[in-house]
Symmetry: C2
Subunit: 194 residues, 2 copies
DNA sequence: CGAGAAATGAAACGGGTCGTATCGTTTCGT
DNA sequence: ACGAAACGATACGACCCGTTTCATTTCTCG
């Protein structure tokens, strides 16, 4: 009896679970509607109209399920070469803002990262999906701007992305300040001045 | 029998609990050593050598206790007039970095903010202690810089503080990037350019 | 189509936490 | 020295986690 619980955290294969889509969506609904600490497996199972055992058959624990559910909606698209550095950077900032648009989901990210602190391999994958993948695309756009001569050659792509994502996350999580056009424009301008 | 459980969340009076200091410290120790999700009331009580009932006698729940325990070490000092704008800003950035120096405590802040989402009055006090109080002091330093002509009159003190704190928190919580001298210097320079 | 395999929903479990209540004891203020 | 307040221990019901069992439904493919 080799019923191995497949550990699919953020993998690409889509093998078993018949109700995977339903379960992912249920997790996001509970999260957005009742918060991270109310996200119980029983609540997710109930919302998905599914037995708890079905969830545990496909995900090893709550963190893995949530990471899968979030990865599905977290945008990490490539930024096309528009020939216009400013427009490309604006698109990058907008993409980041979109990722944090839903407060429930945004709050879950650091909470999840914190819970993952004792699962190093999961934390590494989490960062890959939620940070590095997206950052690579944005870095490409930034480099195009440098090549065009629009951005200073000394630009620190890591710093500018920390500034962008950090400010957006901080407003969402802590101050509750606005995530609007004005902020987006100012963040874009930052890249030209730093 | 009017044994009213005094609700002292972040107040200044220090009335009853004989073991308050011990309990606060125990909460911080458990938090730093085993993480937010391992911060149980029983663990805190055990670490403080105190009965659980004693904690519940003075704090209504875990969030309130933790908010008190964190407020005690969160720095929101005034920044003295040094006559040197750059030096004052550096001090402001260093203060913010200090507040996020301990990873365990830093991670607790957004987690706590998230848990407080359903306690609006607690959330308001949380923000007062952890955000506005400190921000007022930093804003004062920024305004001095503007008055000296060192900083542009158009400076957005809210934005610059979001940039500072956001970047620092983001590195601590998400990327794990360095919080060092180099970052501090770059953040300071930001104020002169934005 | 039909039979075997795989996935499923329901239910129950031990272990653990929360917040409350109730003890008998220790410490404080006066 | 005495009464009131704070204390520690302990037990409670309610809830949740993560696992297991089991009878039923749904797939798969010969």
């Amino acid at each position: 009896m080799k019923r191995v619980v497949s550990f699919r955290f953020m993998s690409d294969e889509t093998p078993g679970p018949r109700g995977a889509a339903r379960i992912h969506q249920a997790a996001r609904e509970v999260l957005a509607g009742r918060g991270y600490s109310a996200l119980t497996m029983e609540a997710v199972a109930a919302a998905a109209g599914v037995g708890k055992s079905t969830i545990y058959r496909w995900w090893p624990n709550k963190e893995a399920l949530l990471a899968d559910a979030l990865a599905e909606v977290f945008k990490g698209e490539e930024i096309p070469d528009l020939g216009d550095t400013r427009a490309e950077l604006r698109r990058a900032v907008d993409m980041t803002m979109d990722n944090y648009a839903d407060a429930g989901l945004a709050i879950a990210l650091p909470a999840l990262a914190a819970d993952l602190a004792r699962h190093p391999e999961l934390l590494a994958r989490f960062r890959e999906v939620f940070l590095w993948r997206k950052r690579g695309n944005i870095a490409a756009a930034l480099h195009r701007g440098v090549d065009r001569g629009d951005l200073p050659a000394t630009l620190d792509t890591d710093l500018i992305q920390d500034l962008w994502a950090g400010t957006i996350m901080y407003r969402r999580l802590m101050t509750g300040g606005p995530l609007d056009d004005d902020l987006a424009e100012r963040l874009v301008q930052l890249a030209f001045k730093v």
